[in-house]
Symmetry: C3
């Protein structure tokens, strides 16, 4: 995979300053790239590294072009341009059609001739696999699932029965889609299972991280909107709805029946309680807990600052006195007022 700089500049609609015929065969960091590699500068704090880069070319904004010692590809959004370039250097997924001899596929599955079912995978009855679908090794797809064109399950993925995945969905290893929602009724202390009769519907262009779990709905479906990106080890409970183009970092947990808007960003380890509404374009910072519905776009947070343990502990202990402190302050205000009057 080798490209001339003029090819790469054309790919990203960039303005090339330098040698149009320079050959690029890979990517690197500003600090690590060599003469045959291309890199990018998208964050002002790495500008220093630009000055000494040995890269063959740098994708950057106009403001940084002056100080670039290498060939430059000038664009409006260097990170976005780099994203497009990175696709050119990604190792291709091997194209195979049909199925590995060890795959176990139900006779009445509807498998597109260009789809591939990998070694030791199992595909249940009445499953539909679209064009160019790749079911990696060790996956299980339960009955009555529908998987759209160009979708890939990487390896050891489990999809329970009756789930629908759109086109160009990428499901990373170990992810589980369609497991039972956590629903139980209580009968004098004992839990009686509420059978989870809904499914999961996943839109086009969704990416689901490694070992992430998405439960099926109790009655209606759990819904992941188009273009949603979920990182690793995320838990999506039953009947959650996630709006299009929302992104969630690792270790997030969303409790049952909550609805998250479009274009949201949920930070790592954050939690959202059940039966809440979160508006479009809401950002929740890492490890915050959302306990009420959020009606307005914006950035929301909870939590306390990190300190050295001994300092933190002094403040931590005072947290238990906060209400008393507030009452004492109020009393002092009143007493002082009286004193001033007197």
């Amino acid at each position: 995979m080798t490209y001339t700089l003029s090819e790469l500049a054309a790919e990203v609609n960039g303005r090339l300053i330098g040698d149009a015929d320079h050959l690029i065969d890979g990517v690197g960091t500003l600090g690590g790239a060599g003469p045959s590699q291309i890199t990018f500068l998208a964050n002002a704090k790495y500008r220093k590294a630009l000055e000494s880069t040995r890269a063959g070319a740098v994708i950057l904004g106009a403001a940084d072009a002056d100080v670039c010692p290498a060939n430059a590809v000038v664009v409006d959004d260097p990170h976005l341009a780099y994203a497009h370039v990175s696709a050119l250097f990604a190792p291709p997924v091997e194209v195979r059609h049909g199925m590995h001899p060890s795959a176990v596929v139900s006779g009445d599955a509807d498998v597109h001739p260009t789809a591939w079912i990998g070694a030791h995978s199992v595909v249940g009855p009445e499953v539909t696999l679209g064009a160019n679908v790749v079911i990696g090794p060790g996956c299980y797809v339960g009955g009555h699932c529908s998987i759209g064109a160009d979708t890939r399950l990487v390896a050891n993925v489990t999809i329970y029965h009756g789930c629908t995945l759109g086109e160009r969905v990428l499901v990373h290893a170990g992810a589980v889609i369609g497991s039972d929602g956590f629903g139980f009724a209580n009968d004098k202390g004992r839990w009686v299972k509420v059978h989870q009769l809904g499914g999961v519907r996943i839109g086009d262009d969704v990416e689901i991280g490694a070992n992430t779990t998405i439960d099926r709905g109790a009655v209606e479906d759990t819904i992941i909107g188009e273009g949603v990106k979920l990182d690793n080890l995320i838990q999506i409970a039953h009947n959650v709805r996630i709006g299009a183009h929302t992104a969630m970092a690792g270790c997030v947990g969303i409790a049952g029946s909550s609805t998250i808007g479009e274009y949201c960003a949920i930070g790592g380890g954050a939690g959202i309680l059940g039966h809440l509404q979160v508006a479009d374009r809401v950002t929740v910072t890492a490890m915050s807990l959302v306990t009420k519905s959020i009606r307005e776009p914006g950035v929301y947070s909870s939590g306390t600052p990190l300190q050295r343990n001994e300092e933190w502990h002094r403040n931590y202990a005072r947290f238990k006195q906060l209400d008393d402190m507030a009452r004492t302050i109020r009393r002092l205000e009143k007493e002082l007022e009286t004193l001033k009057k007197g």
Copy 2:
């Protein structure tokens, strides 16, 4: 799967108001159910939706029967009654006996003739599988495990050697039972493994969520009591003991050697440190951290409220001054006292 309303009412010991012969073939929500579906009302805040429901029947309490525009099944506990009804509409797990030709089963495993071992599963030596056990596709059951009647491992589940599962246990996809506890001794900075020689014992009627992990004991067993329900992505460390009928929501972590009582409810993302005792009937709210033993039943919490980021940040920064604030308040109180006396 079609039932008359009189059949469904009988199933839940409900009083039927309406057409006893009305046919029901599925479940729905109050808002989404059609004339051939049954729904339920268990939460007062959905009463409004009752008035306009198009459902064929509604399971509800006596207080709501008046305003129900559809056939009604009146019960004491609508959620519990719905749980029983939901079982009638759950798609049956296909009944198969024996093993898939691709399964790899040790010659000295003791497999009940009504058990099933699915495609690409591996069952080790001296494993006992009871009546109607279902080992789904891609599972691994290590040697010397015992799995009780009617227990099901859904798919891609791993059970390490020497673990015992009771009857009617449901283990969701990707769960891992019996992995090594996190035990190391320190030898001048390097970690020396403490081999984990206990096992895991899981009682009857336990449900274990997708990608949940339960470590084996260091010396004695990790124990999950009868009727315990664990949601997805939960971590149970070595030598934890969980009392019967306790439920834990997703992403909870329990550190080593802690003992949790019976009938507890642990909220999503909560943590419990190691070597603690938690009494029976304790509720811990979401994302709280338990750092000391809890001796009394009740509801326990930690954490701070969610706010808009800029407001939160002002308070967050003050957390570091809490101890100083408390001392200043104390000083002001004294000074004011002096002033008042003087």
Copy 3:
């Protein structure tokens, strides 16, 4: 596996007090061990249990030897000595060479004759497996990976292409190594994938817990240093570097491009934001969030104390007034000062 006490004492360089020929065939706890089992006392709070132990022998420090009613093996560090003893009683991993007939192994994989590839595992092209490597059942090893001698993948492990594991690495079930880092550029609200072109490099003597995920680097590699121990359900994002001999408890999340030092201890459920530096010998307590780089060794914490819900709620509500409280205190101080002067 039976040893005389003199053999066991020799193994740990301990001083034996008692019957050198006493036979030991297993381990137990102070409270549970019988006459043929050995136990240890490493924590003063279990000293009471020592007095009534029925164990065949106890590994302990000199200070506790007097009150030991059983044979004693006196050492400097009983926990470390026990770790060595535990290895003697660990069930041996069955030694097999070659591959199970159901394994699918690329013709150009370089597999050491003493390595073993288990049932239903898949090994991709140009993979190198060193001496005594054990690939357990249901694992997937992508192309161009290198796995060092004596390393073991337990079961249902996924290693993506192009990853390197050192020697004596133990990877527990369900772990995923080399999944795509969570990298996207934003194009008018839609996410464009930044292809993740780095790999993962894991040093010697690393242990990786069940269902833990380690993402591949965006450009350069994600690096896990020698002797690092990761518990279950940990998320390591792209381009993280973890220094040698650092240990992390379950459910930790480390965001992208952060560098963690050597000999660190990260408590369960803790989070570390992206692009940070954490010095050597830093301890972060459970469920703390690291939002800034940590330059100095020491113990660091965040969070609030657990209370009964009604008490907690009073203080929790006051958190929103913290900044106002601080300002009021400051005003009261000034007013009081004025009053005192006047």
